[in-house]
Amino acid sequence: MSLVDELQAIVGADGVLARTEELFAYEADGLTLHQGKPVAVVLPRDKTEVQRIVRACRANGVPFVPRGAGTGLSGGATAIEGGVVIELQRMNAILRVDPDDRHAVVQPGVVNADLSKAISHLGLFFAPDPSSQQACTIGGNVAENSGGPHTLKYGTTTNHVLGLEMVLPDGTLIRLGSATGACAGYDLVGAVVGSEGTLGIVTEATVRLSPIPECVETMLGIFDGVVDACRAVGAIIQSGLVPAALEIVDQRTIHAVEDSVYAAGLPRDAGAVLIVEVDGPSEAAASQVERVREIALAEGARELRVARDEEERVRFWRARKGAFGAMGRLAPDLYVHDAVVPRGKLPEILEAICEIGDRYQLKLSNVFHAGDGNLHPNISFDRRDEEERVRVIAAGEEILRTCVEAGGVITGEHGVGSEKRDYMRLLFSEEDLDAMIRLRASFDPDRVCNPGKIFPATRFCTESDPKARGYDKVPIS
């Protein structure tokens, strides 16, 4: 029996895609620069099926790649070394909601926004809110430790995961953490969140739910230049205010948004807009608005608009969250970077990034989580134009180097994936990488689960050979 036959025997014929035309959509994720062809895509319905699929892959010596909605931006869900893609979208049930204890148990295929929608009548929401939340799955959020505009106040996914159930790369099912968040021993949940699908396949997550704040005020600070807007961000952070969100949209993005269905009436002549959101009890929110206004005007804002009603508030956010989509109009492909710098360095780094974009003659725009120092320089390009593609990659590398030199890191929320694995050495020594590989070896000594991600390609030969690293000598009980 072939592997595809075996997989069909597990999930049924309609749960396996293996014809060339069916596989096109799975050759990449949100990062179109990197591609890989899987031998098959399989869609399990429950954890037992996941276990059987993993065992079948192991028996056939074929690697496997977990995949949620495929919105990842670092190639994480792409079968870069071939193998079977295990797509979790059919496992999309909300299994339990415990409103008083404020947690929910969900399957990995639940779409991020669907969870918050399903519990809003209880006055609760799931705080991690990636801009892709209408499509991306909780399994993907867990694997990437995704953030969003509200990470500034609420933290990233790791702060909202209490427990996990997963299928380990040898096919065993295991529970980590608990509904109360406590765990005896090492913080395995903390280690698995953000591990980019390389330590096993998450089949269930127990997540923390947060109370919907009584009052939310959303403001739009309008600035002549993006550097001024960055200074205002620094001043707000230093004032001790903890806004729910601090997001910057630069002029090029403003134009793309205003030309699209996400148009929100952003002023086209502004150099940048700063979205500030504060939340909490009504009186407290009102006084925070006044403090933000003072700071923004002192830092050179032309104007601070406060959303008059829910409709306007939603429009501001639609403009922000739709920015990537709008930018898709500028060129066939979009390359989104994700570096983070110390917040005080934002003004100078922004200038440096714009200079790099100009020097490489690229269409570069910025829309980013300024409050966290998390940049998103976006480069619009056409990947069929080989010469332009080379410039895109060279500029990207220069941007990453600049951010690292400023004390920053190469990714804040999108993950390393296949995209940035060769830049890991900008930050980490061989010993640092080795320390990470030891974790990998504890879960997946044979490197069959999502291979080709996170670690530099040139480490692959040793990473893949446990004997070469002496793992075979380590007693693993």
Binding site: E144, D187, A191, A284, D432
Partner: protein, 393 residues
């Protein structure tokens, strides 16, 4: 002798001592990361077990060590903290005490979100033990990056100084709370909290308030510490509100209408001597806090509940030479309390005799093989705090 060469004479103190039931030949107190790493490499080669201590406030925590030859003292890893007041982050060496760090921050707009009942507690020990702070929550939320010396003598770093970071595995999480069994922390990048403009304490009778009502009060947005203390009719709910003036005033008005009045500072849970006491931390469903507290109160000790954190802390007198009946009775109570709250328990302090042969971490269940595999990867010779961690790792 090799150790003297690696560390320098002044860092090797040949003073035999007995700690935690282990007979130790000498104390090592490296002053630099290089010296620490050299000591670890040498101990790994010679398979010499190390009992690791910072301020020693958590020494009576963890399983009893099964074999240790030397004491590794991290209190002299003392590089001055690097505080970035613009960004609200700080790089702090392992030996720095929380008290001195708090002091160094007074002139800034930031405060240290780590707590310890003991003034001698060091940064390294606090991160390694990772006891949840009643005020600020889990230690893991504030660790942005770590510099660690591994058993092999390799010096590695995880994370960084920025507040958001997914570059590589999050080994900060694995090492925070690993009780020195995977590596020795040299220093950490911490995320600081903005110093609140106002702090105010309110209190009310707990008796006559339903558990849900108390929980709701503790969950109000400006309440950063909500504790129930005392026994019977003397049971009080104490709330510490913190934040900007308007936020605190608005919560405070609402709470006043529910019968709360200006109160005394919340006592530091888990304060007091570390001998002759059995302390347990029970993590529970928040809604079950009172049932759990009632179970622990049967033991005749002190109980502090932190309903919003889903945490109930019990502390019982237990003599160092207590008999088996007294010992098993407090353990049984801990287990029962955890079951009642559908949670788990950790014994945070107990006389060595009461820990011998028992698992202080409650029930690690099916994760044991994975935990052992991790331990074997990072400390193959088994020299770091041998036997101290879950399942004797």
């Amino acid at each position: 002798m090799e150790l003297r060469a690696a560390l320098g004479d002044s860092a090797v103190h040949q003073e035999p001592l007995e700690l935690e039931g282990a007979k130790l030949e000498a104390r090592l107190s490296p002053e630099t990361g290089e010296a620490l790493a050299a000591a670890l490499r040498s101990c790994s080669e010679q398979k010499l077990g190390l009992l690791i201590r910072g301020g020693a406030s958590k020494l009576s925590f963890a399983n009893a060590p099964c074999h240790a030859a030397l004491l590794l003292d991290t209190r002299r890893l003392l590089a001055p903290p690097e505080i970035d007041a613009e960004d609200g982050v700080a790089l702090v060496a392992a030996g720095v005490t929380l008290a001195s760090l708090r002091e160094a921050l007074t002139a800034t707009g930031w405060e240290l979100p780590l707590e310890s009942a003991d003034a001698a507690s060091t940064l390294g020990g606090t991160v390694a033990a990772a006891a949840e702070s009643p005020r600020f929550g889990p230690v893991r939320d504030f660790v942005l990056g770590l510099h660690v010396a591994l058993a092999s003598g390799e010096r590695v770093k995880f994370g960084g100084r920025v507040v958001k970071n997914v570059t590589g595995y999050d080994l900060n999480k694995l090492f925070t709370g690993s009780c020195g069994t995977l590596g020795v922390i040299e220093s950490a990048w911490l995320r600081l909290k903005p110093r609140p403009a106002v702090v105010q304490v309110l209190e009310a009778d707990a008796l006559g308030r339903g558990p849900g009502e108390v929980l709701a009060a503790c969950r109000r947005s400006s309440v950063r510490l909500g504790a129930v203390e005392g026994v019977g009719s003397a049971q009080r709910v104490r709330l510490e509100l913190a934040g900007d003036e308007t936020a605190v005033a608005s919560d405070s008005r609402e709470l006043a209408s529910q019968g709360f009045v200006a109160g005394q500072a919340v006592s530091q849970p888990e304060a007091g001597g570390e001998t002759g006491v059995f302390r347990v931390r029970v993590t529970v469903r928040p809604t079950a806090w009172r049932e759990v507290a009632d179970v622990l109160l049967l033991g005749g000790g002190e109980v502090v509940s932190l309903p919003a954190r889903g945490l109930v802390l019990g502390s019982f007198p237990l003599a160092d030479d207590a008999d088996e009946r007294a010992i098993s009775s407090v353990w049984r109570l801990s287990r029962l309390a955890a079951e009642r709250g559908e949670g788990s328990y950790v014994v945070a302090a107990a006389p060595a005799s009461a820990r011998a042969g028992r698992e202080v971490y409650g029930d690690p269940g099916e994760t044991i093989p994975l935990q052992r595999a991790i331990k074997a990867q990072y400390d193959p010779a088994g020299i770091l705090n041998p036997g101290r961690f879950v399942g004797g790792a």
